[in-house]
Symmetry: C2
Subunit: 485 residues, 2 copies
């Protein structure tokens, strides 16, 4: 085995220092005085175990995956050594197992009955006694959806399902969500933006369309991560940044012991937007709404361990990758985002965290829907001499571009998203750079090494999330009133 | 491809005649007057789809499995052609998908609100308005366990996990059951048999031991089917007979419009045992207990579609097999039995339906635990000239049998369960027939064809179930009083 492909050494010091912390967090809810959010302690403890478990299991199981034929070649390296593929399965299994073990912490009154007693003491502000019992079915249906996504992702890796057959897979995985939502007679109302209220009123009941919306959301979240793939660490770093953004958003809604205020620099828009966090209600942006706090706790319980497994996996998947995630990782992370967006009712905010994915998806559409030829791999082209990545190209070989394709490509070219090669005489488009955000980066910033390209991708994801927060808490007031959902 | 390995022709007439029946059963609960058990109608409809879906999907997907390397050689045939392996995955996926789609039928008040209205009419006997809402979490945790069992079974097929590492797999799959049972503060009492009541009282709280019991039950149900395998159709036929026995047992507890009485010929024991079915309470053996009826409905909802997929799979897996089930089928069926036994609280009755498996397990123990050499395959030996199966043998090659092994084997030999080969001078045991029920059949009834051996196995399973009913409803009265649980 080439030295570059040996598993990365494991940080033993981290291991031995984090285990006691994780154990303390797990046992703390059992001790008096019970912390205000006992399940959140346990969730943090499980997330540390998620990190450590992934760090250790992924290299340990790599050779087993290679033996079972689950291996790939790194297209952007000189070496031809096989690299274990589909290790996202290990992340997904660990993630779901920890979520299952977490069930009694969130839903058993073994923990919450301590709190019930302390509720009797007068206390200023909102007291959250964690999840209501009935939400257990919602939680379990989310686990079912995640498990189905994992299973289907792994089947995709084993059977190599064709692209067109893959699209509906997340819809199947979202069925448990929809079924339980229906059985519980879930709310299918949406808040109408102010400019449209003259037409629809302030609340619109979408009825069955709401179920269509939910399955489309899971399809989008899952596939949009899956098509922004191909370079070391790209899938898992997207998931990591999105999960951290969701967590930051959730934290704004939790009861904090202190109150502070964030002023957004939006004076140019004529209205200084200020976000109150904490304060007299001790419930942040939730403004005393117990339901909002519970929803965001639900989201935290799914996102914290996801950050754990993604961070652990990133360690082995970063450039030069020792393992590949396979479709399994994209499916399970995408489904996790869809689950929290749907169940905690912040799907619009969630979509704002997917700005690079939305851009990449819109850009990819002409290739996905057959307008422009789509080669099997659209990853950037690797030049072995310089070890730099260049934009890869799609050639119009058999047929000339249609009128529509020409118009679309010229518009993209005008924006600088693609570089076209034209026949010098007829001005017909002969080839184009592939329509992915990675090629756009290489076009705008010039050829670069693979690790630099991943860093650019991560930066764009972080920038997208920052923009998302400005839009959500600064500009949303223009479209929605105080009752922001 | 050899003609013997071409997929079996599909019974088209069956297909076209059953689809309207299934659709009618699915839509019937929506029409007035609502039938007394609308979800049971839907469950029957889904079970027919389970049968048809398995019949059609299994041969359609066979070549995909072979391409992905999931193929096996039939050890008991002349032909060397590869046969698709792990097709139990198709059965398991279809089974779980149909159970998920069934969720709203069982738990949504869309159906039950019709009944609520009809409840107001005076009616003699017990009115069952299907499941209470809180049981949704129990149902979902059962689905999670089934899905984990499927996933782990498939991983076992792909990665070929070693036998000793396999044993705890069902324990992992039972974790969701245990977690939800704990979160819901499930009952951990057991009814003590009359002869032991002077010691323990009539109810014994097992506490944490109850959870150990539940995971051991799932381990037993799963592995005991998995080790009674190796000849065409053996795994699926065991599952089919057990599922039908459970269904028959469930039907005794349902409200029937008519009352009848079954007299068991147990006069020899001094007490004529009579089983009242139906009668004035219209709730069979449940004697007016709504909880008992609900539990057995729960069991029916899991068993009916299982019979559907098993019957469909049997068509393609029976001698000569066109497809193999893989470990996936054993795991998911075993887990399904464990789920209903635990959740519907009839685990002791369930174990009575596993008599051949218990016999085979006890017989296998010396080989499983290393007392007697255990070859990789313990299936009977195939003689190509006569096409007959003979008992296969395990040789004491490297080491002589220990004292304990000699004693155990001599006892088995005295019962006629094994045939020993001894050194003519020292009388040391040199080899023994493998310790499986299949080899016992071949020893007792002489060499036979593979299809005859499967028939003998099925007959023994049916005989075991008949004995189980006699024990459960005839003899249990000697150990338990009327409050039979």
């Amino acid at each position: 085995m080439a030295p570059s492909l040996r598993p990365r050494p494991l940080p033993r010091a981290l291991f031995f220092s984090l285990i006691p912390v994780a154990l303390w967090l797990l046992f703390r809810p059992l001790l008096d005085p019970v912390p205000p959010l006992p399940a959140l302690h346990a969730s943090l403890g499980f997330s540390i175990f998620a990190l450590l478990g992934t760090l250790y299991l992924v290299p340990a199981l790599g050779s087993t995956f290679v033996c079972a034929g689950l291996k790939g070649r790194d297209l952007l390296k000189v070496s031809d050594d096989p690299i274990p593929e589909s290790l996202g399965l290990v992340c997904a299994s660990l993630y779901i197992l920890l979520l299952i073990l977490f069930t009694p912490f969130a839903f058993s009154d073994v923990f919450t009955h301590h709190i019930e007693e302390s509720v009797r003491k007068p206390r200023e502000g909102l007291v959250v006694s964690e999840f209501p019992h009935y939400q257990l079915s919602v939680y379990l249906s989310s686990l079912l959806s995640l498990l189905i996504a994992t299973m289907l992702g792994f089947l995709d890796d084993v059977f190599d399902i064709r692209w067109r057959h893959k699209l509906p897979i997340p819809i199947i995985a979202s069925i448990p969500l929809l079924m339980v939502y229906y059985s519980e007679r879930g709310n299918t109302d949406v808040v109408v933006p102010i400019p449209l209220r003259w037409l629809f009123g302030s609340l619109l009941n979408l009825g069955p369309l709401y179920y269509v919306y939910m399955s489309l959301l899971s399809t989008f979240c899952t596939n949009s991560i899956n098509i922004l793939a191909g370079i070391n660490g790209s899938e898992v770093s997207q998931a990591l940044v999105i999960a951290l953004s969701v967590i930051l958003n959730d934290l704004l809604y939790l009861p904090w012991p202190i109150g502070f205020r964030i002023a957004l620099p939006l004076h140019l828009l004529g209205r200084p937007a200020e976000v109150d966090v904490g304060g007299v209600w001790h419930a942040g942006m939730a403004y005393g709404s117990r339901v909002l706090v519970e929803r965001h706790l639900f989201s935290l319980y799914f996102m914290l361990p996801l950050v754990g497994v993604c961070a652990g996996f990133m360690y082995h998947n970063r450039y030069p990758a020792r393992v590949f995630p396979g479709d399994t990782l994209c499916y399970v992370t995408g489904m996790a985002f869809a689950v929290v967006g749907i169940q905690a009712h912040f799907s619009k905010t969630l979509l704002l965290f997917f700005l690079p994915q939305i851009f990449n998806f819109v850009l990819s559409c002409p290739q996905l829907f057959g307008l422009v030829p789509c080669p099997r791999h659209r990853v950037p082209r690797f030049e072995a001499e310089t070890a730099l990545l260049h934009p890869s190209r799609a050639e119009f070989k058999d047929r000339l571009p249609s009128h529509l394709a020409t118009i679309v490509l010229r518009i993209f070219s005008w924006f600088g998203f693609v570089e076209l090669a034209e026949d010098p005489h007829t001005k017909t488009i002969m080839s184009t750079t592939n329509l992915t955000i990675l090629n756009v980066f290489l076009l705008r910033f010039g050829p670069m090494r693979e690790d630099s390209l991943v860093r650019v991708l991560i930066c764009s994801q972080v920038a997208g999330s920052m923009l998302a927060f400005v839009v959500r808490y600064g500009l949303a007031g223009l479209l929605y009133d105080g009752n922001r959902r």
